[in-house]
């Protein structure tokens, strides 16, 4: 039995303010397209069934599981990955955003694998609720799995990020 090659689609992805033209089959997951076609490997894949949240990205500012989206369905969307969270301070690296800085301050990460999904989730969460209570902070991250930290320091990071965010205003 022979098969013909899969049909490929030209897809234009808008990621972190840049345009990525990729040619992918219809079934290609957005997570794979970001990682393997755009080379943005900061988005991690932990379960590929939408439970762990490691692959969370922002689609038009809303947190979405990129493993549950197809690349072809992300055309026209403004995508932000972890690589796009840093803030421009004139240096090539950029400055850590309040959420990123808070994770460093509070030891909110260990192996770093789930971290990108937490950072994007919290970035969106704080945009919606810039001054969360501890319970609200917990609620904000209740859909993401971490196996290293036990979450206590991630909750602290959310509150610290809110504090840092206020300082900037």
């Amino acid at each position: 039995m022979t098969t013909s090659p899969e049909e490929l689609h030209d897809v234009r992805l808008h990621v972190n303010g840049s345009v990525h033209e990729v040619r992918v089959p219809a079934r290609r997951l957005l997570s794979d397209a970001l990682r393997h076609d755009c080379g943005l490997t900061g988005t991690h894949v932990g379960c590929e069934h939408g439970v762990c949240g490691a692959c969370t990205i922002l689609v038009d500012g809303k947190p979405m599981r990129s493993c549950l989206m197809l690349a072809v369905s992300a055309v026209d969307a403004e995508i932000t990955t972890v690589e796009g969270l840093t803030e421009d301070d004139g240096t090539p690296q950029g400055r850590l955003s309040p959420v990123q800085q808070a994770f460093s301050d509070c030891h909110g990460l260990q192996c770093g694998f789930c971290t990108p999904g937490f950072l994007t989730t919290i970035t969106a969460g704080l945009a919606e609720n810039p001054d969360p209570t501890e319970d609200e902070a917990r609620e904000m991250i209740a859909g993401n799995l971490c196996r290293c930290t036990g979450y206590q320091n991630i909750v602290k990071s959310v509150l610290r990020a809110a504090e840092l965010g206020k300082g900037e205003e």
Binding site: M1, T2, T3, E6, P25, R27, R28, R35, H36, G39, L40, T41, G42, H44, V45, G46, C47, E48, H49, V51, C52, A54, T81, V82, E83, L85, T86, Q93, G94, L96, Q100, F103, S104, D105, H107, L109, Q110, C111, G112, F113, C114, T115, P116, E134, R138, I141, A142, G143, N144, L145, C146, R147, C148, T149, G150, Y151, Q152, N153, I154, V155
Partner: protein, 804 residues
């Protein structure tokens, strides 16, 4: 003098790359290499079957498929069973699987065929087209079935017993027979697993220009992988480099090696002349990596009126799954570490390690200790209940006292050495714990809650953990002419912050700026002699080796600087990377000392001119002295006589819902003694993470195998790993620092501690809340509800306890 960094909460250097999405995990590698190929594995859908035929004819025509391997295609050492990594004389029936199954499969998930294609999607398409004819065999699932041995996993292991091991100190059975009181307990623990967020993964590239193989693997032992790859592929060790990039968690499972894919990926890369990547998906991690924990224990204990244990006799059955690649490490640890901080006068332990048609069992954080702790602490609680004594009092009666160290148990530990505790202060730890959790005020709290119709319970559990097992680790410290310090140690990192903690040690030891120290782990090109990261050993082993290597570099720096400054070495000090003569302005940068350490013929920059032949050295002597070598480096190894024993105690207050049997954590307290802390922030992070895993193991996580050996919950939807909503909102932690006399820094391991007492401490607290014995863990609300019904039916009989 430079500020001392050892013992301070230095922020982690790793965080910068992780927070920016610039970590490099194994699946991130070579993504821009258009020649990269991807692998997928056909896995057995049956727990036990003979392979009659494998037909791959539909696969090769599939567009994008490059190659497919089955066992028939393997030759030489690759066609032999995988290595049995840790043999033991009592492992009389050790068995390991093949890289690809030969004739028989023994668990759902066992690798059968390996497909390489242009991308993972196509590789998976191809896997789906392979046709295998199986002759189905009845599987052996669970410890009861293995013990019954009506069926066997391996034809040549007639009773499913891979090993039977017995150790005894004194005469436990005689002591129990003569004891004033005796109790018998039957205790069970179910399967769970490490479940790191990143699964297994391997990338390999064969370079035909240099005839070298480079392998990147998400492993806890790069040197172990290197040895196996070289042996299996028939390559000289010098032709194989193994690099461990950033690793998304390990918790034990990644110390197993070589995984079939860890050999097949390099084989494919070398055969095809193209780089190959294999990245495990989540279901594969559940069904084809490793699990742990499942054991059944039968305990007999004899004690006096004070609760002093006079004799303890433990028989247990350990489910090791379908194969024994990691030997008997887990049950040996259970059988020895069960003793905790106590000194039963007479102790006998016997275990049988059993085959079942399920995923292999290898160390998971705690590695057999959680089971041992559960058994010992349940026994202590049972003694206290029987005598009507406070549970802390019975423990105190049995503690090894601070003046009894080193304490010899008269048993052999997992490293083949005597089980001898080096230091600790258990009474002090218990006093701290009681204070921290409010032990003495609890009855008041219970009454208060009862008045509101709420049901609460308190439990505690103590453990001792042998950490920092040998044989050794090494380190290389190189001071470059820029003054920057490059450090290499061979063990690997999975999120413990080694780059930070080890740099702290180097900065202190050498007297250089923390920012100038860069640490590399797990790269066999930089440190080919290493063992790996497991058994809470990294800080103890590599931390000590790095300290010793830095001392050697410092010694040399002082010698050269003394000559340059025309001063005596004793008058020199090093701070912030500058060697100076105490009390004077005379000084020299370490970078310049590095220049002087390497006599040059050719200058490559301004600084190096100082080391050229017309500038430096005594023309009457060889430029490099006979007993010296060029360069400002230090290399050393640390190899301890035996493990160092950390310890700790946890207490928890739980609330159980009178109607729904939901179990809530109201307070969690930890007293922890891992000797001197290098970085308290990192140690506390380790405790937090361990406690969360412990909560998972005690209340939520289990491997739900059905009778045909299918794992029913092999996804994150069904395997209930704790989210933030399941863990304690805060953990009260207090440290005791009893230094280890066995290493130069006085440190003990901390990585596994948080998870060890969880099953024990939750069982104790739930039992205290409910008033009937908890003898099996994990426990769900449904199970607690069933237990309530059973005990309501029969309130007079405590079924698991008997009196003499």
């Amino acid at each position: 003098m430079t500020t001392k960094l050892f013992g301070t909460k230095v922020p982690r250097v790793e965080d910068q790359r992780f927070l920016r999405g610039q970590g490099r995990y194994v699946d991130d590698l070579l993504t821009d290499d258009p020649r990269l190929l991807h692998a997928a594995v056909l896995r057995s859908p049956h727990a036990h079957a003979r392979i009659v035929d494998i037909d791959v004819s539909d696969v090769l025509d599939l567009d994008g498929v490059v190659a497919v391997w089955t066992w028939e295609d393997l030759t030489g050492p690759m066609a032999e069973p995988l290595p049995l990594l840790i043999p033991h004389p009592t492992l009389t029936h050790g068995r390991t699987q093949y890289a690809l199954a030969r004739e028989e499969v023994n668990y759902v998930g066992e690798a059968i065929a390996f497909v390489v294609a242009v991308d993972r999607y196509v590789a998976e398409d191809a896997v789906a087209r392979i046709r295998v004819d199986y002759e189905y065999l009845e599987p052996v699932v669970g410890i009861d079935a293995a013990r019954a041995a009506e069926r066997t996993v391996h034809d040549d292991v007639p009773d499913n017993v891979g090993a039977r091991m017995e150790q005894e100190n004194g005469d436990a059975r005689a002591a129990i027979a003569a004891a004033p009181h005796t109790l018998t307990l039957e205790l069970d623990i179910e399967r769970s697993a490490c479940t790191p967020m990143e699964g297994r993964g391997t990338v390999a590239r064969w370079d035909p220009d240099t005839s070298r193989l480079t392998v990147w693997s998400s492993t806890q032992t790069s040197t172990g992988v290197r040895g196996c790859v070289a042996a299996k592929l028939g390559l000289d060790l010098a032709r194989v480099d193994v690099i461990t990039p950033d690793v998304g968690g390990g918790f034990g499972v990644k110390v197993v090696h070589p995984w079939p894919e860890e050999l097949l990926v390099p084989l494919a890369a070398k055969t095809l002349g193209r780089p190959v990547k294999y990245t495990e998906d989540r279901r594969e991690h559940f069904i084809s990596s490793a699990h742990e924990r499942a054991q059944q224990h039968h305990v007999e204990v004899g004690f006096d009126d004070e609760g002093r244990v006079l004799g303890l006799n433990v028989e247990f059955w350990h489910d090791h799954g379908a194969y024994t690649p990691y030997g008997l490490i887990v049950p040996i640890i259970t059988s020895t570490q069960l003793l905790g901080p106590y000194k039963p006068q007479n102790y006998r332990v016997v275990f049988e390690s059993l085959y079942t048609n399920t995923v292999i069992v290898t160390p998971y954080r705690g590695a057999g200790r959680p089971q041992g702790c559960f058994v010992m602490e349940r026994t202590m609680d049972a003694i206290a209940a029987y005598l009507g004594k406070d549970r802390t009092e019975v423990r105190s009666t049995n503690f090894i006292q601070p003046d009894e160290f080193p304490y010899e148990h008269g048993l052999i530990f997992q490293d083949g050495r005597e089980l001898t505790y080096d230091s600790g202060d258990y009474p002090a730890s218990l006093a701290k714990l009681k204070e921290l959790v409010g032990w003495d005020e609890f009855e008041e709290f219970r009454a208060e809650m009862a008045a509101q119709g709420r049901r609460v319970g308190i439990g505690l559990a103590c453990y001792v953990e042998g950490t920092g097992v040998g044989p050794y680790e090494g380190a290389h410290v190189h001071i470059e002419t820029s003054g920057k310090v490059k450090v290499a140690t061979g063990l690997t990192t999975q999120g413990q912050g080694h780059q930070t903690a080890f740099a702290q040690i180097v900065a202190d030891t050498l007297g250089v700026r923390f920012e100038d120290v860069e640490v590399t782990t797990g790269d066999t090109r930089k440190m080919p002699y290493a063992v790996g990261t497991f058994a809470s050993r990294a800080a103890v082993m590599s931390g000590s080796a790095i300290h010793l290597a830095a001392l050697r570099a410092k010694e040399k720096a002082l010698r050269i600087a003394a000559e340059a400054l025309e001063a005596s070495e004793e008058d020199l000090e090093i701070a912030d990377g500058v060697v100076s003569v105490k009390g004077t302005d005379a000084s020299i940068d370490l970078g310049t000392v590095a220049v002087l350490s390497n006599p040059l013929r050719y200058a490559f920059d301004e600084a190096s001119k100082a080391a050229t032949q017309f500038s430096v050295g005594d023309p009457g002597k060889p430029p490099v002295a006979e007993d010296d070598e060029p360069g400002l480096e230090g290399k050393d190894f640390y190899s301890p006589p035996r493990s160092t024993f950390a310890n700790g105690m946890h207490a928890v207050i739980v609330e159980t819902d009178p109607d729904t049997a939901e179990i809530r954590i109201l307070k969690y307290a930890v007293v922890h003694d891992c000797g001197h802390l290098i970085n308290p922030m990192i140690v506390e992070g380790q405790i937090h993470g361990g406690v969360a895993q412990g909560v998972g193991g005690a209340l939520y996580e289990r491997m739900a195998y059905d009778e045909s050996g299918q794992l029913l919950n092999a996804s994150f939807m069904d395997f209930l790993m704790p989210y933030v909503t399941e863990v304690p909102t805060s953990i009260d932690i207090d440290h005791l620092e009893t230094p280890s006399p066995l290493n130069p820094l006085g440190i003990k391991g901390a990585g596994e501690a948080g998870v060890i007492p969880s099953a024990a401490v939750f069982a104790a607290a739930i039992e205290d809340a409910e008033g009937f014995p908890i003898t099996a863990m994990p426990i769900s609300p449904s199970e607690l509800f069933e237990l309530r019904l059973a005990h309501a039916d029969d309130t007079t009989e405590a079924t698991t306890r008997s009196t003499p």
